[in-house]
């Protein structure tokens, strides 16, 4: 049903579906409101670091557990337009599994327990991504074995729980380089064989590296670059071939790391036949930027400085920086801002700011949500998800 619903929507609209990372409460609210206002399905793609089950201590987004997050979304999603999606589920995708340096068997069990919580909470799209291994670099066949194990587990548990789930596969992320046509063909053939043998539905989505890569606050991949990106196949060559392979296998192609692409590049997504695209950090940065702007433009520079300091000290910007970066401390803080929204210090700061801004007639959270909405709407417009704005 979910698969058919998405297929039919894509066929009618000739659009690209949007996956939104739940970067904050405002981002979640903005997404639900837009999906309902425009009556379009939107995938809410939660990574395990953002949202995870109680066993893992929840995630950094509002400290929500999987259950709490799912309840929050489904209670507000009046028209049922949000598809709760697990992004990059799999072993060692949670901080806890990394810190404890779990061995393969325990990491797989741990991943299964996270998926179990997802399915129980009503997640409908499960991305099976066992490409990470903190103890080595598994080859394609090893990764596929892990995919099959997790796929089978999730499907069986969903069947037993009478829950409907669809699957996303794809085993690379932010690699900068490209998965080869042969590798994609091989992977899809193997998964097809596994699904047929086990009478399990084929995956709905496959992640394809389309030449998108997010660093700092821009997309540094080849998709939007007029000049060559070293060691990458130009998107002009890579994309049509990958789409051709996906179409041959009857699987929808999903792009990750779509953040910060230009309007022109986004407008070409539906035309090129990219079925779905994920965007996450851009919306977090949009909210942090909006927070700083409203504070600074209302004489609350000290609060702005405090927020920038908290974000900077979190060091969460580190993994996003380009080698030899010239980014300022302020840039780093904006990159890390959404990671600290739920910390006690930041909550306290926002309460204080909210009170001061209320005196000037501003509703801080409403303002922030509106700014995130504008950022999401850029994708709605360019992906042909709405024709009215």
């Amino acid at each position: 049903m979910i698969h058919q619903r998405l297929q039919s929507f894509l066929q009618k609209r000739h659009c690209t579906l949007l996956g939104v990372g739940p970067m904050s409460v405002n981002c979640v609210d903005a997404t639900i409101e837009l999906a309902n206002e425009h009556e379009v399905p939107v995938l809410m793609i939660a990574s395990r670091r953002q949202i995870d089950s109680e066993d893992f201590g929840g995630g950094y987004v509002n400290n929500w557990t999987t259950q709490e997050f799912a309840r929050y979304v489904t209670d507000r999603d009046k028209k049922g337009k949000i598809l709760l999606a697990r992004d990059h589920g799999g072993p060692w995708q949670s901080i806890k599994e990394n810190q404890e340096k779990l061995g393969l068997r325990r990491a797989m069990d741990s991943a299964k327990s996270s998926y179990r919580a997802d399915i129980d909470a009503g997640f409908q799209v499960l991305h099976i991504d066992p490409s990470i291994d903190i103890h080595g670099q598994p080859d394609v066949d090893e990764v596929l074995d892990r995919v099959f194990d997790l796929y089978d587990f999730c499907w069986t548990h969903a069947q037993q729980s009478r829950k409907e789930v669809i699957f996303e596969v794809g085993t690379e992320e932010q690699s900068g380089s490209t998965n080869s046509q042969e590798e994609l063909d091989y992977t899809l053939n193997a998964i097809k064989k596994f699904c047929t043998q086990n009478k399990i539905p084929q995956p709905t989505f496959v992640v394809i590296q389309c030449g998108t890569r997010v660093m700092e606050m821009r997309n540094v991949g080849s998709f939007d670059s007029p000049v060559r990106v070293a060691n990458e196949i130009p998107a002009e060559i890579q994309l049509p071939k990958m789409i051709e392979i996906c179409n041959r296998h009857g699987i929808l192609m999903k792009e990750h790391n779509t953040d910060y692409l230009s309007d022109e590049a986004l407008q070409w997504h539906p035309r090129l036949g990219i079925h779905a695209a994920n965007v996450a950090p851009e919306f977090g940065v949009a909210e942090s930027t909006a927070l700083i702007n409203i504070l600074e433009s209302n004489g609350l520079e000290k609060l702005a400085e405090r927020f920038l300091h908290i974000a900077y000290e979190s060091k969460k910007w580190d993994k996003w920086m380009i080698d030899g970066t010239t980014a300022s401390d302020r840039d780093r803080s904006l990159i890390a801002g959404h990671y600290v929204f739920s910390t006690p210090m930041c909550r306290e700061l926002k309460v204080e700011a909210g009170k001061l801004l209320a005196k000037k007639g501003y509703d801080l959270e409403q303002y922030l949500k509106e700014q995130v909405k504008q950022s999401i709407l850029r994708y709605f417009r360019n992906f042909r998800l709405t024709r009215t704005v």
Binding site: E236, I237, R271
Partner: protein, 274 residues
């Protein structure tokens, strides 16, 4: 008689141009004559291998760039009645670098073995395309972004303006000064006329961008960033004006439609399809 005319474009970087010429003389002299177009170089900054010096006030100020520069060189060969004696033309920016082996012998051999290749580009080890050329070292592409092309004479003859040769439109469209999108136009012209455009890893070439970064003043051109912005802005305006394309993706679809058609009519080359 030599089968290839190599045309090298220089502007005020004699040492770099000399080195490239000497490399070709050392490894490929049996196959090629080397011609150097001085694109508005100062008289004291000419390569010792300079063949022609374009020195009109306009060229002295702005240079020729790849499109106009190569048109200029090809037209000179026509005027000197040398054009027809060559089988192919190797068009190089002076920042091209090769390995210390013969570059042209394997390329010419490829032209002989692939009679429909009109445009042949050596791959660079920095290009992702090399990953597509592991089993089959030569494949036909619809997109090649490069400054080193070997063009078959018959292909040039099928698309050039021989009746009224002019540096603005003999082969490349000189109105697109810096050339963003020009290679796509040339590839479209190739496939539209039943010629293929190939990349090969049989030989390697690379572009040393550090020259533009380090010697922009000597070349009398804009710095790297400004040049890049102008390259894109001018190219986009050109694409819109000439084709009504507002995006390079439209250009890509245009080229690829000819590419796909080529293989419909030449199934015998399907193993070279990307």
């Amino acid at each position: 008689m030599k089968r290839v005319a190599t045309i090298i474009l220089n502007r005020n970087l004699p040492e770099i141009t000399n080195a490239l010429c000497e490399h070709l003389v050392k490894y490929d002299s049996a196959l090629t004559d080397v011609y150097v177009v001085e694109a508005g170089s100062d008289s004291n900054r000419l390569s010792k291998y300079a063949t022609w010096h374009a020195e009109s006030p306009e060229v002295m100020t702005n240079g020729l760039r790849y499109g106009r520069g190569m048109n200029y060189g090809l037209i000179q060969l026509l005027k000197e009645e040398k054009f027809a004696q060559y089988d192919a033309f190797f068009l190089l920016a002076n920042d091209t670098e090769f390995k210390d082996v013969s570059t042209l012998a394997p390329l010419v051999d490829l032209l002989d073995r692939h009679p429909r290749i009109g445009i042949l580009s050596p791959c660079s080890q920095r290009w992702g395309e090399r990953l597509l050329l592991e089993k089959e070292k030569t494949k036909y592409f619809w997109f090649i972004h490069n400054n080193a092309y070997l063009l078959r004479r018959e292909f040039i003859e099928s698309v050039c303006d021989k009746e009224n040769p002019d540096i603005m439109d003999f082969l490349f469209d000189g109105t697109n000064f810096r050339g963003y999108g020009s290679e796509s136009e040339l590839i479209a012209k190739a496939y539209a006329n039943d010629w293929a455009a190939a990349i090969t890893t049989v030989v390697w070439a690379s572009e040393n961008e550090s020259h533009l970064l380090e010697y922009a003043d000597q070349i009398k051109t804009q710095g790297y960033e400004e040049n890049l912005q102008l390259y894109i802005a001018e190219g986009r305006r050109w694409m819109r004006k000439k084709y009504g394309f507002n995006s390079h993706w439209s250009m890509q679809q245009y080229v690829k439609s000819f590419y796909d058609k080529f293989f419909e009519f030449h199934p015998e080359y399907s193993q070279y399809k990307v």
